[in-house]
């Protein structure tokens, strides 16, 4: 009988747990990412289920944000960054030449660490994406879209009297929810969140986490977080990255009570960071 039968990492590695699913919204196969000569991500294979929240955790520099940015080709904006392998959004390879990146980013939206509203009014922030993608035919439809997006983010009551005021006048938590409203206004299928609460206080964090939970009814959400407790609270699945390798993917309940890989255990219990 094995005393503590956890797996350890070998040179050739296989992700521990359940990285692949039968039905997936996004499917990642053999993805490597290079910054010039330096490899940042090693042979990642992962499926992300529809209307699921998956969190990516790991020490600083483990590649979790780099990986997240592959999912809507944000890494294209970095000249020396090279992504190989295959990432499919449903049946379409998002790195295919025929893909329109602007359209892709409407389908796979993103929310960043620091709330980054445009220096425009609250209304314009939400209306902007819909306008450039031609999602509405007239002002009335656009008004309705702005209202419904703000309502879904629980922000409507707080801002309905001051829609034309600058978005930068909102509190940090409100700004972040506005950015989420802006992301969902273009009706994406997937929302990527890169440490969305790290600049927020605990109350604003709780509000955003509740929002993530509600949005997961309709959207697939991938969240990178430094807060393990946040990953435990908001996600159904958790992926642990270490030095560019996807070490373990499992149900969040498993990862936080009985992780199967030694490195995951050491990270979760605060032994490596």
């Amino acid at each position: 009988m094995a005393e503590n039968s956890k797996q350890t990492m070998n040179d050739t590695y296989e992700t521990t747990g359940i990285p692949l699913l039968k039905d997936s919204k996004l499917s990642v196969r053999n993805v490597d990412v290079f910054y010039g000569d330096k490899q940042a991500i090693f042979d990642v294979n992962l499926d992300i289920g529809k209307n699921q929240v998956i969190s990516m955790i790991g020490p600083s520099g483990c590649g979790k944000s780099t990986f997240l940015r592959c999912l809507n080709r944000m890494n294209d904006t970095i000249d020396i960054c090279n992504v190989t392998g295959e990432i499919k959004l449903e049946d379409q390879n998002i790195y295919d030449r025929s893909i329109d990146v602007v359209e892709l980013r409407a389908r796979v939206g993103m929310v960043f660490q620091k709330p980054n509203p445009f220096p425009k009014s609250i209304y314009e922030n939400v209306a902007y994406g819909a306008r450039i993608h031609g999602l509405t035919d007239n002002k009335l439809e656009l008004d309705e879209l702005v209202e419904s997006s703000l309502k879904r983010c629980g922000l409507w009551k707080e801002v309905k009297e001051r829609l034309l005021e600058p978005a930068t006048g909102l509190s940090g938590g409100q700004q972040q929810r506005l950015c989420i409203a802006r992301a969902i206004a273009v009706n994406p299928e997937v929302i990527l969140m890169d440490e969305p609460c790290s600049a927020l206080d605990p109350i604003a964090t709780a509000t955003v986490e509740e929002l993530i939970h509600e949005l997961s009814q309709n959207f697939t959400i991938c969240i990178v977080t430094h807060s393990m407790q946040q990953a435990a609270r908001v996600s159904q699945r958790t992926a642990y990255f270490h030095l560019g390798k996807l070490i373990e993917v499992n149900d969040t309940s498993v990862v936080f009570t009985n992780p199967k890989h030694q490195l995951t255990e050491e990270y979760i219990t605060g032994r490596i960071g």
Binding site: M1, M228, F256, T257, N258, E265, R271
Partner: protein, 237 residues
């Protein structure tokens, strides 16, 4: 078992220290409970009830330690939000100290019965059977405390097998007592005392097994309560 993975190796050394202190206190509590049972069996063996006051004194210390360890575990849950192995350690510890405290209570119960029988000057014949049962339980408790100290799942399973022997011995003592009561109805009251004591000893065995199950949960993350021994072996292989 790698000790570091259980209590050591955290980036926060203070956390290591807190977990280490809890573990030391549990072991101390185990030592006190073991002493309670030893002194009770000594009294039974020698027919001298003077050591039973010590059993009562020890019980008060055991109770105090239970509360102290529980409070420390609560503080860790509140302040450290432990996960994975650390979380299992805290859960297993709070459960195990409850079992240890109950072992202490059962030992005290046996001690009171021994005093009662000795003070009445009557020694039922089944004393020797009770003593044999007591010795088996004492060994099981000792092994269980070792299992906890070393965090060994292998010996946890071995102890579970041993508890089945304790149950068999208990059944034998009961059969013997029933026969005794049939043939000597004048001593039914004394025989009932012995019966309750045997029951308490058997319960100590059950609490030992709970602690062994907690060790398996702590080390492997497997909940093996209410599971047959053969299945547990399969689960852990």
């Amino acid at each position: 078992m790698n000790d570091d993975i259980l209590v050591g190796g955290h980036i926060s050394r203070q956390f290591d220290q807190e977990l280490d202190e809890i573990r030391s206190r549990v072991l101390k509590m185990g030592g006190l409970v073991e002493a309670q049972l030893d002194k009770t069996l000594d009294a039974l063996r020698s027919g001298d009830s003077s050591g039973i006051t010590d059993v009562e004194k020890l019980d008060r210390k055991v109770n105090k330690l239970e509360m102290q360890i529980d409070e420390e575990c609560t503080q860790i849950l509140a302040k450290r939000q432990p996960a994975a192995g650390d979380l299992r350690m805290i859960i297993a510890t709070t459960k195990s100290v409850r079992d240890l405290e109950r072992i202490g209570d059962e030992a005290e119960r046996v001690a009171h019965m021994v005093r009662h029988v000795l003070d009445n000057g009557a020694a039922p014949k089944s004393y020797s059977g009770l003593l044999a049962l007591g010795e088996e339980v004492k060994e099981l408790l000792h092994d269980t405390l070792n299992t906890y100290a070393r965090m060994e799942t292998r010996s946890a399973v071995k102890n579970m097998r041993k508890d089945q022997d304790v149950d068999d011995e208990y059944a034998r003592v009961l059969m013997h007592l029933i026969e005794f009561m049939k043939t000597d109805p004048d001593h039914i009251a004394g025989a009932l005392d012995v019966m309750w004591a045997a029951r308490s000893l058997e319960r100590i065995g059950d609490h030992c097994i709970n602690i062994c199950e907690n060790v398996i949960y702590l080390v492997e993350g497997e909940d093996v309560r209410h599971t047959k021994l053969s299945r547990i072996k399969k689960q852990l292989s």
